[in-house]
């Protein structure tokens, strides 16, 4: 790697990703900061690339953050989250049922069909299922999990799986559907969830989403400059506003990792990362 160019890894979950990072590259270049990016088709490859020294910064999903942190720890190294979007903080997921259904708690879903997003989606699969499990349901025996797997490897960044689960709920193909809170509002506005047709059975406590992850060997100066430039970005600037609107934020915030506790519990409980970590010489938990 060129020592003076900060290289970021991101997952191409949508074609707009190119527009976003090209925009950041130009924004940084105009401020004399050499920056480039590499796109991966899935988060696992991105995390492996960062551990192998191919990139300095990973734009990681919450699950990819845990993958990076655990794989780094397994190799005697460390990872930290340097920044995140304001909209990455304090999200919740909801388990939604049809308004006329009799169920009042997650435990009532025993024997029922539960629709979720992609298997690697923190918000629409892992975290909601953690809550079902913690409510006393055996996910293998007590409920039928119907996964709407769109674009596995992208950690649920694509909205499609959740929308399919919501549609299945309305059509009666599942009894409950799991989704992130924002999509509940969006699907209601889109009419996918007709007004008054659904009820929120359960809402999780808040958790956090993506972050910019760096490893302990990342070049300090460029990383500090990167973070400094991020925090100097203002939504009031037209060129920034375009990028922020695409990336869905109003301001960058300092990275924090306390908000990943629910997801940590979920991957530990379900052993989600064990095969991948074993394959890469790491360990789970």
């Amino acid at each position: 790697m060129e020592s003076d160019t900060l290289l970021l890894g991101a997952v191409a979950y949508d074609s707009k990703v190119v527009t976003i990072w090209d925009g950041f590259q130009q924004y940084f270049a105009a401020r004399g900061f050499p920056f480039d990016y590499v796109l991966y088709s899935n988060y696992e490859r991105q995390v492996e690339g960062q551990l192998a020294g191919h990139t300095h910064v990973g734009w990681n999903s919450p699950l990819a953050w845990i993958e990076a942190a655990r794989l780094a720890a397994a190799r005697g190294r460390s990872a930290r989250a340097v920044a995140m979007r304001d909209t990455d903080c304090d999200l919740t997921s909801v388990v939604v049922v049809r308004a006329d259904s009799p169920w009042r708690s997650l435990a009532d879903l025993r024997g029922k069909r539960v629709g979720t997003g992609a298997a690697d989606s923190p918000q629409a699969h892992l975290i909601p299922l953690l809550h079902l499990a913690e409510a006393g349901l055996d996910l293998a025996r007590d409920v039928e999990i119907r996964r709407f797997d769109l674009l596995v490897g992208k950690h649920g960044d694509h909205i499609g799986g959740e929308r399919e689960a919501a549609r299945a709920l309305v059509k009666g193909e599942v009894d409950a559907a799991c989704m992130i809170d924002g999509n509940h509002l969006q699907f209601a506005r889109e009419g996918v969830l007709p007004a008054g047709s659904t009820r929120v059975l359960h809402q999780t406590p808040p958790y956090d989403h993506c972050n910019f992850t760096v490893l302990d060997d990342a070049p300090r100066g460029p990383v500090d400059r990167f973070v400094e430039l991020l925090f100097a970005m203002s939504y009031d600037e037209p060129e920034v506003r375009r990028l922020f609107d695409l990336e869905g934020l109003k301001a960058w915030r300092r990275g924090r990792v306390e908000g990943y506790a629910q997801l940590e519990r979920a991957v530990d409980r379900f052993g989600t990362l064990e095969p991948w970590l074993r394959a890469h010489g790491g360990r789970s938990g």
Partner: protein
């Protein structure tokens, strides 16, 4: 929506009641209206009964950059929570620019409207940072004429319905060869009107929309030509299954119009000289038509063409007033076109003969003689019209005579 707000919020309510309305059914409008009166850092109490309101308020606030604190047990039952305003919508409008004056005319029209005003309505406030559009016709001097507004209004008011404006089923009897002559003339008209449609249509797509009245006029001009093409085709097919002949000479002449990339030159060649000559031709057809349908389609088309000529003259007069060297460019364009067409046949014999026969109305030698004389008068009338318009553009009598004589023999 409304005007961008100034940074200073008006004194407003510190509570809003959404009633039964959720944010999935438009409740956010009430919320935004109430927040407009709340200063950054201040709180707004939100009441409502929608069961998903607290969930959706948290989502909405996160996306908008505000803070949401859900109600606690001690709060009144219908209080859903408090929204603390964290962002100022006015920030979005910092650096915004008004895209000229909505009612502008004359020199108040922007001389070089910004490419970033894009498609915005003239007089709208345009957010900074928008895309720059490529409108090659973005210079007022080249395209503008105050007359465009009046001509557009006239055009909009004068639109006629081809289905009802012409008595298509009115009975008439024509000799076969006279009918053939009408079909040949219609074939020629369709070909020429197609050029008259494509040329303004091409420039329309290059024109900065700031010049709204010009854009509207060019649009209606192309719509006029579409109707002309329709009625001429319909007249040709009234008694026949096929149209007449299209010649190399005719198409070569029209191709020089279609290929002309310069708006002023194309407008001069097409509207002032070409459509100007066509005005004479259409009135000739109206006066000499052997049947009422031909007479009427010619009259309706002529009325429209008069507006096209008027706009061409108006913007070129203004342009020449601001750029005296324009006249030399216009003259050179006529000479260039003449040279390019020097070795072509000009008006095809089929069209010329058809015009004579159409005006004659029969094969009687006296009638043919009368028809021939009428066509000779027509070419003289066209020449006089061209010279008159050239003089209006500031050419001397001698220049006008010379340039008119170089105009394509294909008329358009």
């Amino acid at each position: 929506m409304s005007e961008p707000r100034a940074a200073e919020p008006r004194a407003g309510p510190t509570a809003v009641d959404l009633g039964h309305l959720g944010l999935d059914r438009g409740g956010h409008l009430l919320l935004k209206r109430a927040l407009a009166g709340v200063a950054v850092g201040e709180r707004l109490a939100v009441r409502g009964r929608d069961p998903h309101l607290a969930l959706h308020l948290a989502v909405w606030c996160r996306a908008q950059g505000h803070e949401f604190a859900p109600a606690v047990e001690a709060d009144p039952a219908d209080l859903v929570g408090h929204v603390t305003r964290r962002t100022d919508q006015a920030g979005r409008w910092r650096g915004a620019e008004r895209a000229g004056d909505a009612r502008a005319a004359g020199d108040a029209v922007a001389s070089h409207p910004s490419a970033r005003w894009g498609l915005a309505a003239r007089g709208a406030t345009v957010e900074a940072g928008g895309p720059a559009f490529d409108f090659p016709l973005g210079d007022r001097r080249t395209v503008w004429a105050d007359e465009a507004a009046r001509l557009y209004e006239q055009a909009a008011a004068a639109q006629w319905d081809p289905a009802t404006a012409i008595a298509w089923s009115e009975p008439f009897v024509l000799a076969d060869e006279v009918e053939d002559a009408v079909v040949q003339v219609m074939t020629y008209l369709v070909e020429n009107e197609t050029a008259a449609l494509l040329v303004p249509a091409r420039f329309l797509a290059q024109l900065h929309p700031h010049f709204r009245e010009v854009m509207q006029l060019l649009a209606v001009q192309t719509a006029d030509e579409a109707r002309h093409i329709e009625v001429f085709t319909r007249r040709a097919l009234l008694r026949r299954d096929q149209l007449g002949l299209s010649t190399v000479g005719g198409q070569l002449s029209l191709k020089t119009l279609v290929d002309e990339p310069d708006f002023a030159l194309a407008s001069f060649l097409l509207s002032v000289l070409g459509e100007g000559s066509f005005l004479s031709l259409l009135w000739f057809l109206h006066r000499n038509a052997p049947d009422p349908v031909t007479a009427e389609v010619a009259r309706l088309a002529a009325q429209d063409e008069a507006r096209h000529v008027a706009f061409g003259l108006a913007h070129l007069c203004r342009h020449a007033g601001e750029e005296p060297a324009l006249r030399a460019r216009l003259a050179a364009a006529v000479e260039r076109r003449h040279d390019a067409l020097r070795h072509t046949a000009g008006l095809n014999e089929e069209v010329f003969d058809a015009l004579v026969l159409l005006a004659a109305g029969s094969w009687q030698p006296e009638a043919i003689e009368r028809g021939h004389a009428a066509v000779v008068d027509l070419t003289r009338d066209m020449d006089e019209g061209r010279r008159r318009r050239l003089r209006r553009l500031g050419f001397t009598d001698g220049e006008a005579e010379a340039l008119s004589s170089l105009h394509t023999r294909n008329f358009m």
